[in-house]
């Protein structure tokens, strides 16, 4: 339905409708009234010429149209239901595990289980500590400060007897010449040497580090 032109203000109304007159969008009744006014109004004729030039210029603008369908189709694909895909990467697997464990109920249960595991592991670790000392464990043996050579015919019992009398202990040997490295308490080394040298089972007993008794 055509909007009536206000007969009291034909110029204002015609001026207002000029754009749609220029684009041919007015209904017949409106178009005829605008044309009737145009025939006697130089100002509206000038405006109509301007309108037509503006429209020509305006339609010359051609916004660059990129092929956007692929872009939109991509967005659409993200929105449509996706098939369930099997995770193949470790990151994907780890993310999935984390997603499950980060849920509150699961997280509480998992925390309790984790605490138990830590406690159990500590207990097992404590129980697994060795009660014996290996050759490489513990403190280093006392350094030898005496070298002893036993008689070739001395028995083990005689050797142990000689060492026991001098309160000495073997820390090394036998060397290539059959001697043993022995440690005695440094303060009592002179006495220990005397007892060893006095033993009939000892062929030789000498200090080896030159350290004097303190």
């Amino acid at each position: 339905m055509a909007d009536p032109i206000n007969p009291a203000q034909p110029h204002d109304e015609a001026e207002e409708l000029l754009p749609w007159y220029a684009t041919g969008r007015l209904e017949a009744v409106q178009r005829e009234r605008v044309e009737a006014h145009l025939a006697k109004c130089a100002d509206c004729q000038a405006q109509l010429a301007t309108e037509r030039r503006l429209i020509e210029q305006f339609r010359a603008f051609s916004p660059e149209v990129e092929s956007g369908w692929n872009r939109l189709a991509g967005k659409l694909a993200q929105e449509r239901p996706k098939p369930i895909r099997r995770r193949t990467s470790f990151k994907g697997f780890a993310d999935g595990i984390w997603a499950v464990f980060s849920q509150p109920a699961v997280a509480a249960l998992a925390t309790a289980q984790l605490a138990f595991l830590v406690l159990a592991s500590g207990t097992l670790l404590w129980l697994s500590q060795p009660t014996y000392r290996t050759l490489g464990s513990g403190s280093a043996p006392a350094s030898a400060n005496v070298i002893v050579m036993f008689r070739a015919d001395s028995t083990d019992r005689q050797v142990r007897g000689a060492l026991g009398t001098a309160n000495a202990s073997i820390v090394g040997g036998p060397t290539s010449s059959g001697a043993y490295l022995v440690h005695v308490e440094p303060r009592r080394r002179q006495l220990a040497l005397a007892k060893l040298q006095a033993s009939g089972d000892v062929q030789l007993a000498q200090p080896i580090d030159g350290a004097s008794e303190q």
């Binding site: 041919g24 969008r25 503006l54 210029q57 305006f58 051609s62 916004p63």
Partner: protein
């Protein structure tokens, strides 16, 4: 202007999530909407975003289209609302460096220079208008819509559309260079 044959049917199919129909509708409207959004937004970086947003809304809401208006009116109304929202996020005006590349040069070499000159002047003149005024100008001059249809799209009374167009034309005429007026009168004299 009646809706093109099949456009309503196409929208019905889109409402049934027919992807082929949606692609056809998209190709039908891409150029027109891009043009409209480029005029209203004056922000080259927003055009694609708002275009996609508009068409995604069409995809999701097509089932709700009851045919009270033409499909084009319904789709342009969505685009207009999206454009104004996007504009609100980018309140500061700035130069659109890419706009010049969107000017279609006149193939006639002897008029090309003047064409560019007037086109550039029109572009600058349009920048002086508000997005609401630019929308009305674009829908009238380029898309050739009746003011009643424009009123539906921008959601305002018919008289407001006429008033916006009246003031927009006045500003555009004022902002155009002397060459523009000379050209008009030379055409009239000829």
């Amino acid at each position: 202007m009646p809706a093109p044959v099949g456009e309503r049917e196409l929208l019905t199919r889109v409402g049934n999530q027919d992807i082929a129909a949606f692609e056809e509708l998209y190709r039908m409207y891409q150029s027109r909407l891009t043009r409209f959004l480029a005029t209203v937004l004056q922000r080259s970086q927003l055009i694609e975003e708002v275009l996609d947003d508009t068409m995604m809304t069409v995809w999701r809401s097509a089932a709700n289209f009851r045919g009270a208006s033409k499909p084009s009116t319904w789709i342009f109304a969505i685009a207009y609302r999206k454009a104004l929202k996007a504009r609100a996020r980018w309140p500061e005006p700035h130069e659109d460096d890419e706009f010049d590349t969107r000017v279609d040069p006149d193939p006639r070499a002897d008029e090309r220079l003047q064409h560019h000159k007037l086109g550039d002047a029109l572009r600058r003149a349009m920048e002086l208008l508000s997005p609401e005024h630019r929308a009305v100008v674009d829908l009238t001059y380029f898309h050739g819509l009746h003011y009643r249809e424009i009123a539906e799209i921008v959601g305002c009374p018919v008289d407001t559309v006429k008033t916006r167009m009246f003031h927009a034309r006045r500003k555009l005429r004022t902002a155009m260079p002397g060459d523009f007026q000379d050209w008009i009168w030379s055409q009239n004299d000829g």
